[in-house]
Symmetry: C2
């Protein structure tokens, strides 16, 4: 078991990473001194595979678990599902020391995290991310989010889990497309923070694609460490933390205009990162060799690196970017790379520069 | 203008109290260095009276205000109205530095506070409480709350406003019943914290009922000071702050079983406080003379001091109390008075004792 400590004063917590950790979850819960009642929030893909076993092992350990299953997919990250979960929690009589377990990918983590952050003004919550994307991304940082008709993650809370358990075994059964989408975030950590990790990922891509357990454990742990360092410097996203949004301003907009669900999040931010890389060359003088390495590593993973965006769609893309949370008084700002491993945030880019890039 | 400072480190804020402060709101906003866009969340009672003037004065000061009006009444403290507000905020393109102004009573404050706490994971928010209850209670403490079918305030967030403006002028136009309901919280501060303030309220009740401006300004400021001291000691309600719930465990349950809306919150907690006072005599040996003074001061304000609760309703009352957020692993705990001005929290009371009291 690898442990990554996320140091946030009295809200510090551990991320445990390793194979077959799920069966030991009740043991880990016991060290946290929580109440006995708990609700496992999961979805219709992950629930049938893992929820029953988890429920009975919790039950055997003296807990009173309940399983709340929501429909798999991004549509469950909405107010209606939040309301459904609130009702389920109140029917199970959760109290202030009771806890919520998020068992699933990013959607379940964001949803369950928001529900835990707001139910009784906040009850403890444990994250069990079961996808590569959620293990390397949403398990660190305490960001929870809900979509509105107007955009993704427009509603949410900063709320830290009490524990994160990344069971590498759950990654082996992921559909290939979803697994590959997670690699987009893995690559991001190399670009924004750690050139040698970028080299490692570049070199070991075939093994990563084969889901080699040793490589996976290292990769997930290193990503969590990087995210934890970045978040530790800036918990509420007023500064440095913005670098984690590399590729996301365009990526989110692409998701929004394509209709949620056409691209997986990882696919959209793969395209977003490649576009941000090309903008970096224009605006920050990123070397062409770095542009090429970055583009190639996304392609080697099997991720999309471009999208054809027609003129009317471009207008909608800009509208969506202006609507992004990261916008301040109407100006669109980007995270851009100076070289692999070093980026700068808050860079204003004229809309013409972006248009030219999209049309080239 | 009286100023009460609420000291919460980097989240400290001021409460300004005085007549006709509403017209100076844009001036106060300017000192906070917020963005230009703002949404005034108000209700169908308060909005028509004050929102247009506020909107134009903000506009003249260079802000881009929008008015969001919800139906007056407790029913607006639900998920559906939260969703409606989210949509209104996104249509008005609020950004991270934009702000929300809560213009109205406790319902509007709780609703707008929750919306501000969760929109874009939290944007600045200014409270303009226009009722006595909200000026002395919900303007301090950073508690926001939303009702579920299963109970009041089951969902919410701890979120501090950036500024609170209590315009005493808005109290003069309150319906008498609503004004009187607010006095229940005023009396509470005397019982739980300050015997001499209790004496003051007891002696000056006729002037308080006449809404004498000088007396009102002192009363509101003193209540805010007391609440601020209590909250400052315990921001997230893990300890001392519980004393603010004197009378609320029973009061909330009475509201729940009567159907929200039959009793105003202040009326329900008036009954709740009198019952808690009588429990205090049984369990903590509170002097009969104190029981009598407390009961008389609520009666002098014109507040209800008892409710007839039939046997089947008692069962529902206990169910509702068990469902209260303040319950921990199924045990009902009370705040009880040892004498006027000094209470104890976390006191377990056997259900039989409560039943006997209700039947006596």
């Amino acid at each position: 078991v690898r442990t990554v400590k996320v140091p946030l004063a009295e809200r510090s917590y551990d991320i445990l990473i390793g194979p077959q950790l799920l069966k030991d979850l009740p043991k880990y819960c016991q060290s946290l001194q929580l109440g006995t009642r708990c609700s496992i929030i999961t979805d219709s893909h992950v629930g049938p595979r893992y929820a029953d076993d988890l429920k009975s092992s919790l039950h055997q350990a003296g807990y009173k678990p309940d399983v709340v299953t929501v429909r798999a997919g991004e549509k469950s990250k909405g107010i209606r599902t939040v309301d459904y979960c609130y009702d389920a929690l109140s029917l199970h009589h959760l109290e202030r020391r009771s806890f919520v377990i998020a068992l699933g990918g990013g959607v379940v983590g964001d949803l369950a995290g928001f529900v835990a952050a707001t139910y009784l003004r906040g009850i403890p919550f444990i994250q069990v991310p079961t996808t590569l994307l959620s293990q390397v991304d949403s398990s660190v940082g305490g960001k929870t989010g809900i979509n509105l008709r107007a955009g993704k993650n427009l509603v949410g809370a900063f709320y830290q889990p009490r524990l994160v358990v990344c069971d590498s075994g759950t990654l082996r059964t992921l559909p290939r497309r979803e697994y590959v989408a997670g690699i987009a975030e893995v690559i991001k950590y190399g670009i924004i923070y750690d050139a040698s990790f970028f080299n490692y990922v570049e070199k070991n891509m075939p093994k990563i694609l084969k889901r080699d357990p040793k490589i996976l454990a290292f990769v997930v742990a290193r990503c969590c460490e990087i995210k934890s360092e970045v978040v530790g410097q800036d918990e509420t996203e007023s500064g440095t933390r913005a670098i984690l949004n590399f590729g996301h301003t365009i990526g989110h907009a692409i998701e929004a205009i394509s209709g949620y669900g056409r691209y997986l999040h990882g696919e959209a931010i793969s395209i977003g990162q490649v576009l941000a890389t090309r903008l970096s060359k224009e605006v920050k003088g990123l070397a062409e060799s770095d542009v090429s390495r970055i583009t190639k590593v996304f392609a080697a993973a099997g991720l999309p690196t471009k999208a054809h965006i027609s003129a009317p769609m471009q207008k909608r893309l800009f509208d969506a970017m202006r609507h992004d949370k990261k916008v301040s008084d109407g100006e669109i700002k980007f995270v851009l790379a100076k070289k692999i491993g070093a980026v700068e945030y808050g860079v204003k880019v004229p809309e013409e520069t972006i248009s030219q890039l999209l049309n080239s």
